[in-house]
Symmetry: D2
Subunit: 393 residues, 4 copies
């Protein structure tokens, strides 16, 4: 029998990019009329976002996040944040990308938001900053690649770039910012009819936004729920709001929440940090048996189920493509009792007016709990409406 030395693996370290490449990019930035930063998965580590914030404080650039890049912009820099992109090309940020003359990707994989979507005619002027060579394709041909440590790349840019105050307040940018934030004041963000059992997604998101701490991990499942959440829920610390875009792993929220719980709480149960997970009813049932694991492992997880008794993300796309939905009906589950079968706690939002109080109670509960919210998906056909055409500014 052969013995192998125990390997305490550390991810490898990278050095700075070549200086001339940094200067080249500074020069391009100084000439660009509308540069945009597109932040990908590898941009959202604490060390990288700290360096990113140093850069943005010196040189203001509008910023977009992929779903995996969520949380890379702090509260302080929120005026530079134009939202997330990653699914349908109908977001305010998509108009920004279409108008930009210099798209700088940071720690980004093409799979996070396919260039086929944001660069369909191949005219986008792309700069790639990463620790590895890009996957070059017909629609992803960077003019320049800054390769090396992302922190070092950002710090060198900060050192050499000229100062640019937040004078992005062109009418165009102002208009996009407005489109991106006006929902908070819309009727949907509040209970329309407090006695109705149905809660609108924007009402849920604005309520959650006010109750959640910046450092709390939120795991969001795939489904209509993640379209709403990725578009509207803000996050101000990296890797606190987690999505599985690209492979769209249905059922991922609860297992991820268990993992986040175990990683955060290695020793003392009284020191447990709350983890939140959110899913639709269909996605929840995909992996609902993991409640057993969550309870056995002593996790502190509040799991919200947006229940509409169907596979809604499939349904609205079937309706758009084929004129009717098929094979998407679910239902008949008592989620409070379901939770109890596993030794977890069950909550239910009986009417829209109770949302805030039930949410507060559930988040205060230590241990594993399920909160059932009957969701109002009447606006969901808009989620894939008004997609930008090629070449539109």
């Amino acid at each position: 029998m052969t013995a192998f030395a125990a390997s305490s693996f550390q991810p490898p370290l990278y050095g700075p990019p070549p200086r001339e490449q940094v200067l080249d990019l500074c020069n391009r930035l100084s000439k660009a009329k509308l540069p945009v930063l597109l932040l990908g998965m590898r941009a959202s580590s604490p060390r990288v976002t700290a360096a990113l914030h140093r850069l943005l404080r010196k040189h203001a650039i509008p910023v977009l996040e992929t779903f995996q890049g969520a949380g890379a912009i702090s509260r302080e820099l929120l005026h530079l944040f134009y939202g997330r992109v990653g699914l349908f090309r109908n977001q305010p940020g998509d108009k920004l990308l279409a108008a930009s003359d210099l798209v700088i990707t940071l720690g980004y994989e093409p799979a996070e938001y396919d260039p086929f979507l944001f660069n369909p005619d191949g005219k986008c002027n792309i700069i790639h900053i990463d620790n590895k060579q890009c996957d070059r394709g017909q629609l992803y041909q960077p003019q320049l690649e800054l390769l090396g440590s992302l922190v070092e790349s950002l710090d060198q840019l900060t050192e050499h770039v000229g100062t640019m105050e937040a004078e992005l307040n062109t009418d165009f940018c102002k208009d996009i910012q407005r489109q991106h934030s006006e929902w908070r004041n819309s009727a949907n963000a509040k209970p329309k009819d407090s006695s109705s059992p149905l809660v609108h997604p924007l009402h849920f998101i604005s309520t959650l936004q006010d109750q959640v701490k910046d450092e709390t991990v939120i795991c969001c499942d795939v489904g209509s729920v993640y379209i709403w959440t990725a578009r509207f829920l803000r996050s101000f610390q990296p890797r606190k709001l987690l999505f599985s875009n690209v492979s769209q792993t249905l059922g991922v929220a609860l297992p991820w929440a268990i993992a986040a719980s175990l990683v955060q709480n290695p020793t003392d149960a009284s020191e447990q940090k709350k983890v939140i997970s959110i899913s639709g009813d269909g996605g929840f049932m995909f992996t609902s048996m993991e409640l057993s694991t969550a309870v056995q492992e002593g996790c502190d997880i509040t799991h919200f189920i947006w229940n509409d008794e169907q596979y809604n993300m499939v349904a609205f796309q079937e309706e758009a493509k084929y004129g009717r939905a098929s094979g998407v009906t679910l239902g008949g589950v008592d989620f409070v009792k379901f939770a109890e079968a596993f030794g977890a706690k069950g909550f239910r939002v009986q009417k829209a007016g109770d949302l805030e109080s039930v949410m507060k109670e559930a988040l205060a509960y230590r241990g594993v709990s399920i909160v059932e919210v009957m969701i109002d998906y009447s606006s969901n056909s808009e989620l894939m409406a008004n997609v930008l055409k090629s070449g539109v500014n």
Copy 2:
């Protein structure tokens, strides 16, 4: 848009095999000292088993079933049945195969019981009867293939074969039959300690055997549960006892039971036929969300869970190979409450002495129900013990 004619697909029909091939096989049969019939999936349709019974009444041959061939032997011909093979080579039937000088497969795919297992040294004298040419391999090289309709092949054999009464009562065969059936009289087939919460698999199987009707469909999940059930539960009508061997689809029992229920009961709910499904707790949780479907569709299913709070089939093999089990612990689920969360009925066998009465009550219940049985897996290490070596008679 092109319109395609609606296709009312009928499986194609086959004619008889060549007559000279039938006579050749009759000749081989007349000379064989210990012929054995190995029945595969395509042998277990009602028309084929009827033809098979006609043959066996004229010319007695010992019979083995693969898991997929279950139920091909009727009560009347039970004296010719030597059990099932399909997993570990340690069954009484394996000794019969090893001693046979003429193994006739009927409607069999090599995947059902790999020739690598029962014919490791390639010396087995094989005849292949099927409606399609066999997948010839190094260890599956039939001396003769009878190709065509299975019914016609069997009927022509019956016509031309000589009469052979059930004079298989050699000491060798008697001994194998005895090994195959002696368990019914063992201590394990009865409650050892009626007040113990633990039920032995053989106790469960003998109790179920006495309560189930021949025409009731039983769907058995993968896991230790299917090893016990495939070896010991008898079935006297084809395609009533269903296993997923080969691909070993964990969680298959309940979804299959729903399908069987829907297929059997197309119109009138009061005419519903009971379907039984059985699984371990791990396998049940794989697809437990389908309880929702079962209830919504108004099925009449009694699902038994053999609960030992672990993945036992993985566990006992890990122990055999690596000396200890790892990553197999489950538990903490209240299955009665779980059933209720879906609008189903929950039963629990509190102690071994209650098994018969709880089973009776559950089978009498119309609708979807779950019956939790704490199972006694203390004998499971024997399931893979005493595997036959190559060339052993």
Copy 3:
């Protein structure tokens, strides 16, 4: 070490199809206005073609061959032969298929001539005769499958079908026959300019047709050469004219000719039967090193090279699709010297007027020889012209 019994493998035998299916087909045949037989690879064995001829002598049906079915129609039944199909849908036989109300395939695989080509709108009324169940697809949904021995299927059809003399002489059929055979009288079938070095494909084919014996095996390579040969060279015995359609194995002619030579001539070199192979210059060079094998094995092969110094089948399709050819230029090889380098004999047709005499000399030569023919590919753009549209009669 385990010893395996030597297996003298014989292909399995099949019996007759069900009688009721035979009668069903006879009934359909009696009502059909324009039935057509499409012969595939498994229709072209000597035993099957003999049975086919018995059927056709009693009941005349127009016949098409796939490339793999070549030679299934004898000289005596030539009036029923409407050519081959298998590549572009622009042949006289394609018009026959489009007009037929009963297409009977015999020993045919969909890959030989994709139903997507001859049945694009799914309206074709198909009967499938084979020894195995068809690969059913959206465009290949037979109304009836006759499964079993092909010989038995044909003989039972012959027994039960009504007599139908060769009264296919409708104007429609006559016109298609005329289209199929008129080329023999065209200018291209003779040397236009006897002193020109260029030989037209039809001139080559008509010359070869007159010199080749029915029993001689001809192996034809892929390339423009096989489109011409499959369309115009007749063959009157099964499996004497061989093509690799479907996978279009470039370079296959010479290796096949070696195999045919070895199979035909097991013992006495003086008893060797001549084998002919034909290829383009590009295809020949793919496997030209096998000349060494041919010579070392003492084969008797005459290999004709249609030399146009390019990959012409690629070229004319590139021109049709992209407006110009690219990367297809070959040339500069002295094939006579090339043959000599391997110890083979080299011939060259210096001018069109010499074709017949050089061909005669080469075919008379015993051993391996190469005959270079400079080919006139000026008509090749027509090979893929005038493709039938969907639903056209």
Copy 4:
């Protein structure tokens, strides 16, 4: 129609590795008793080898090349070169690797020389220097990765490493060097019998070594020919001696030689640089039709064929494994005539004593030529003999 901007792709640039990593490696080097540099494909560019030479001049380290790293050591540093590894583990360099306490790979892919071969027990202490993160595996777990530009990595090492003169002259190293170079004085390196038609591989290689210029590209085919050449032919400039190890592309020599010829000679035919290619007779025949391309493109290539009229690399391994060779016989080709058929020049070494003069004449010939050398493969069974066992020092 969308137009895509023409992309003038440049490989991306990398910066230096982190300084602390460089210092870490310097520290490890200072403590190592027997450090070894293993040079892979990406170590063999002119810029990288120049930086490597700067390092080695300051700090002497024994060097091994993979087949793809050939030529990375200059004549001046030849005393540090211990040969190539990449196929069987029976080379002097393998003893060096087995004894080393610090194996530093440079621009190396595990596929070039599988860690399964040189590190079977996983005890090797590995450092990985490359522009990308390694493919970590059970047997390739570097203690440290220096990631970034290879030139910068080497230059920073040179700057910070202590001076180490070539005091590697331990008895152990001296002995390996001796094993590696003693063949030049062996009987096989000279014509044993000048009148014999057979030339020994070592005689060929020593003769070629003396006639070839350092800057001449030599493309070597796969087969026994590349085992001899990779082990014994020296090369003093990077990417001048080319092998296809790993995928072992039989027939690669001539096509590569054409490519090298086209790349080197873009404009003026009189300025053409000679390219040499070498293959066995079997490998040559795999792609021999490319002679046509070579002549048409006006290349200046001398191609040597080591002719033994069989697939020898297959043959000697069949003999070792199965006791006899099978299906490997070739022959019967007149390569001089073959060359002439393509308009190339053919040479033949009639007897061993003529090798030097024929080689000289052939290399002086401008254009495409073939030189046939009847090769003496009587020593080839030694090529895979005496493989190091695991853990041997």
